[in-house]
């Protein structure tokens, strides 16, 4: 298998599709940047697909080419970890609409031979999942041992179980929801307006002179970053402490540590992320409502499902609160699906799913191992 150039780090494939989209448009070609870890067994039965969150990417357990940092989920993925690359064949693909090598507004529109910009079709979470299904076809994987994701990755994972129930044996959905709430949409709109209000955005056509709307994107990131944390977490980390100074300056510098931290988050984000991708992906999340696409009843999405489900939420996550996970659990119970759910305690809000959490690891490990014996 190691000879096969479909497998390994930093893979890229161009599939001709066309991929029909929920908007009615079709995408061709479908470019997918992805990584695989571990070895696909002879029966192709040990594959785990990891779905990433809004601003994450395929570098789940390897060095990011732009930031030089290690993977974003190395506590969970690797040899001997719950998602065990010695045991499992792990796939993580950059979602379409994003900017790390998969088709998105910054890739080339074959009709114009220029970057798509805002001509790129508006996507949905289901479109992202259908593109991943094309990738699995390409890799020769009929059925996933598990699909796993947190936040927007959880939306993809749960969409997988609804769109391709026969292709998913187990699903792990962490800190996620079956629909985007009004509050979620509202925060995203703040971010989008910050980008579009930056004069350098220019209707999304900023690629030619490489002068992107970095100020707008940084503000969008700063606002969003607050929603990923918790009041208690911010207080614990920063309190009202001042940044490298003994007293307030009576000016508008970043006097407070929390200001300095947020500015740093904003500035470092623009080095690795495309503003138009931020618009497209947040839109896809806002459009997400799994019940809406199943006659208004969420349980219908799981009717007759043989998939095993494991849901995890965090008590300080106010962006995707426990009540959202519980709504999914009630629908799974109503559909008679095999469901597990636990709310874990953590001080770090929505971001908790990305941080080291032994209890989360123990649950995912046990859930995946149990799935291997049936």
């Amino acid at each position: 298998m190691n000879e096969d150039d479909r497998f390994g780090l930093n893979r890229h494939v161009r599939l001709m599709g066309p991929l029909p989209l929920d908007s009615g448009a079709a995408l061709t070609p479908v470019e997918l940047a992805y990584e695989t870890y571990g070895t696909l067994n002879a029966e192709a039965s040990n594959a785990i697909l990891i779905c990433h969150a809004l601003t994450m990417d395929q570098y789940v357990a390897s060095k990011h080419p732009l930031t030089g940092k290690g993977g974003w989920w190395t506590d969970m993925v690797g040899p001997g970890k719950p998602i065990d690359t010695d045991r499992h064949f792990v796939i993580c693909a950059n979602v379409i609409g994003s900017c790390m090598g998969s088709s998105g507004p910054a890739t080339i529109n074959p009709a114009t031979e220029k970057p798509w910009g805002m001509d790129f079709p508006v996507l949905t979470i289901a479109d992202m999942v259908r593109a991943q299904a094309l990738l699995l076809d390409h890799l020769g994987i009929e059925r996933l041992h598990a699909v796993i994701g947190g936040s927007m990755g959880g939306m993809q994972a749960i969409s997988w179980t609804a769109l391709y129930p026969e292709r998913v044996k187990s699903a792990v959905i962490i800190a996620s929801a079956a629909r985007h709430s009004a509050q979620n949409i509202a925060f995203h709109e703040v971010g989008r307006q910050a980008i579009m209000a930056d004069p350098r955005w220019r209707g999304g056509a900023y690629y030619a002179d490489d002068d992107p709307p970095s100020s707008g994107l940084a503000v969008a990131r700063m606002a969003a970053h607050i929603t990923y944390l918790s009041e208690a977490g911010l207080t614990e980390k920063f309190g009202r402490r001042l940044q490298d100074r003994d007293s307030k300056t009576f000016g508008f510098d970043a006097d407070f540590q929390v200001e300095s931290y947020l500015r740093h988050q904003g500035i470092s984000f623009v080095d690795r992320f495309d503003a138009n991708s931020y618009l497209y992906i947040t839109r896809a999340m806002d459009y997400f409502d799994l019940a809406e696409t199943h006659g208004g009843t969420l349980a219908h999405a799981f009717k007759g499902s043989k998939t095993r489900f494991c849901l995890i939420s965090f008590d300080t996550d106010w962006l995707y609160p426990t009540s959202e996970s519980r709504t999914i659990v009630h629908a799974l119970n109503a559909a008679g699906a095999a469901a597990s759910f636990v709310e874990l305690s953590s001080a770090f809000g929505h971001d908790s799913f990305l941080l080291e959490n032994p209890e989360m690891n123990r649950i995912v490990d046990g859930f995946l191992k149990a799935g291997e014996t049936i």
Partner: protein, 196 residues
Amino acid sequence: MTKLRPDLQIIADNVRPNARVLDIGCGDGALMAALRDQKQVDARGLEIEPANVASAVSKGLSVVQGDADTDLSAYPDRSFDYAILSQTLQTTHRPDVIIDELLRIGKQAFVSFPNFAHWRVRMSLLVGGRMPVTRLLPQTWYNTPNIHHVTIDDFRALVRDGKLEQEGQWFLSGDKQTGRAMANLLAEHAVFLLRR
């Protein structure tokens, strides 16, 4: 294989193989695991304590964190062969409503509870004049989760008034089964199998 709590062993012995079971207040899933491993039962659980849920899920069991008082309504009618409520009835806000729910969701229901009319409890109250603290009821009145103490005769009355069928009854004194005669005085623990 660790030994099951005696009331759970009685339930495990009397569940049909290959049945569908909902264990409400399943703790760390000991009964569910035994039913799965010994009787190929399709078991699902509901448990309020996160640490217990984590233990159960890490054993590969399908357990959902939730509260019997609020989370049973999502389960469809007669979607399980058995609904099980072990040592949880006395902690619920409305035991009568919970029993209705058990027999809506399950075709049959196992209910086990500590008997508040056991002679040791009676003696403790009679002689000591204080709320009893015994082996089965180890907490004091102010920190006990048991908010609806019940006796075997109380439970029988509830079954009668609810026009429910009683399909089995088992009584425990210590870890041993004891007879029906004077159970309300001599049994520390009771297990009932009900049907509507």
